[in-house]
């Protein structure tokens, strides 16, 4: 199995390390020509969504990737990735793929002093460590979105068709259950 990781900016190397550790292959998406390679899933890593979104458009990768996601390519999105997928944001005019029918709040916990680590349940998985770095959360999810995790009442993990989207960074902790779930659903 091959997983493509969007490698324009951010913590993509951390994702690649996890994917390889779990026995799948990895490839980096940096240019349009990388999109013609075959892969079975896509990871949208953490980083700055404005920087990643700008690069997606400038490098002409935006439209083809959106078509792939719309076409059912399995996606795991963390933090900035969630913002890229979200239909809209409650505190920002900018939006990108708009394939996930949720409203996100960017920098919902404030600046870096608001970043935190916690342990919460995720779907039917108990005690998942969660690292939030200047993270967004989901303010509103439409009907066909399955809510998998909440922290202090706010939605931080959802699934909708082929898209698994998180406010936090499972790649920064050593618990591999979420990545394993992502890979198992592709198999």
């Amino acid at each position: 199995m091959k997983i493509a990781v969007l490698a324009l900016q951010g913590a993509f190397y951390e994702q690649e390390k996890v994917i390889r550790e779990l026995g799948a292959e990895c490839l980096e998406l940096r240019q349009p020509k990388d999109l013609s390679k075959t892969f079975d899933g896509l990871i949208l890593p953490g980083g700055e969504s404005t920087a990643q979104g700008k690069l997606l458009r400038e490098l002409n990768m935006f439209e083809p990737l959106r078509e792939m996601i719309r076409g059912g390519l399995p996606v795991l999105a963390t933090c900035a990735g969630l913002i890229l997928l979200a239909e809209k944001s409650s505190n920002d005019d900018r939006s990108w793929f708009q394939t996930l029918p949720v409203t996100v709040r960017r920098n919902a916990y404030g600046r870096q002093l608001g970043s935190f680590h916690t342990v919460q349940n995720f779907g039917d998985m108990k005690d998942i460590p969660m690292t939030f770095i200047r993270a967004p959360y989901i303010e509103k999810a439409e009907k066909d979105v399955e809510i998998l995790a909440r922290v202090d009442g706010n939605i931080v993990g959802v699934r909708c068709r082929n898209q698994l989207a998180l406010s936090f960074h499972p790649e920064l902790d050593s618990d591999r259950r979420i990545h394993r779930m992502f890979l198992e659903n592709i198999r």
Partner: protein, 291 residues
């Protein structure tokens, strides 16, 4: 700072990787930087080239000016305090800055001691010319490192020298027997554990960016090929003819730093680059501040 907080601060630096952090002096410049794809901005009253030209003592920027920039953009905002000036750092923490740069670009406030960065909850980035400096700053609590380079010159030679030196020293540590690490720690004047980390992981324990003298997409790509994990651009953008275009070209060059064809097209028609000065022409070597 708790261990958990330190981890979170290191992890914010991980999110900045593969990105460009740009010096800005106004909310308008901050917006241009964000729109060009900057992953963070450094808010300061005067960019290094102007600090160099103005001379005199340069200090932390006006908190009101920094707040204006915090309100203008959604990306992380960094700001500089003087080396050793822990009260300036306390002020920056009070206005919830995302990262403090304890920077040799400003006039040092202490010629002996750096700030004890472990006492703070906000993260710190510090400059380093070699492995010893980098590890000493990390021991003091820095959660991100950058080369010092020579700020405000548009001359990349010093950043290259610092990055190469760091890589060579990391390679040397990696090749040592474990019983030799004690002597290496003594030489570098750093805790044994940090040297051990470098040996086991063949890298610094925190993210390492390039800074100082980056003026063109080719400079940024050069630093990335030499092993930088991202790039700071100070005077290079807003001292040039077409800041928006140059900023965006540098951002793309950092993402695709090995694609010479792409960097060739990014380098076209960028307008005037900042006027550079060679290291032999300057009287003040900022990189020599704070070791």
């Amino acid at each position: 700072m708790s261990e958990e907080r330190y981890q979170l601060n290191r992890q914010l630096a991980q999110m900045l990787k593969g990105g460009v952090i740009m010096d800005v002096t106004t909310p308008e410049q901050a917006k241009i930087a964000e729109a060009a794809g900057a992953c963070a901005v450094m808010a300061l009253e005067r960019i290094p080239a102007d600090i160099r030209a103005a001379g005199g003592v340069s200090r932390m920027s006006d908190p009101k000016m920094i707040r204006g920039i915090q309100e203008a953009v959604s990306i992380p905002v960094m700001a500089k305090c003087r080396i050793g000036h822990f009260v300036e750092a306390q002020i920056l923490e009070a206005i919830e800055i995302d990262y403090i740069d304890e920077s040799e670009v400003l006039s040092p406030a202490d010629d002996m001691f750096h700030i004890d960065k472990r006492k703070f909850s906000v993260p710190f980035v510090c400059g380093a010319k070699d492995l010893g400096e980098a590890l000493r700053r990390i021991a003091e609590g820095a959660s991100m490192i950058r080369t010092k380079g020579e700020p405000g010159t548009g001359d990349i030679v010093q950043a290259v020298r610092h990055m190469r030196r760091m890589n060579q020293e990391i390679a040397r540590i990696t090749s040592m027997r474990e019983d030799e690490l004690f002597e290496a720690a003594k030489e570098l004047r750093v805790p044994f554990e940090l040297v051990k980390y470098v040996q086991e992981n063949r890298k610094l324990p925190v993210v390492n960016f390039a800074a100082g003298g980056v003026a063109a997409p080719a400079d940024a790509a050069l630093m990335m090929q030499l092993g930088a994990e991202g790039v700071f651009v100070g005077s290079g953008i807003f001292k040039s003819g077409n800041p928006a275009k140059r900023a965006s070209a540098i951002v793309q060059a950092v993402t695709n730093y090995t694609d010479a064809k792409l960097i060739a097209s990014l380098s076209e028609d960028l307008g005037e680059a900042m006027v550079g000065i060679n290291e032999q022409e300057i009287r003040l070597l900022m990189a020599e501040r704070g070791k």
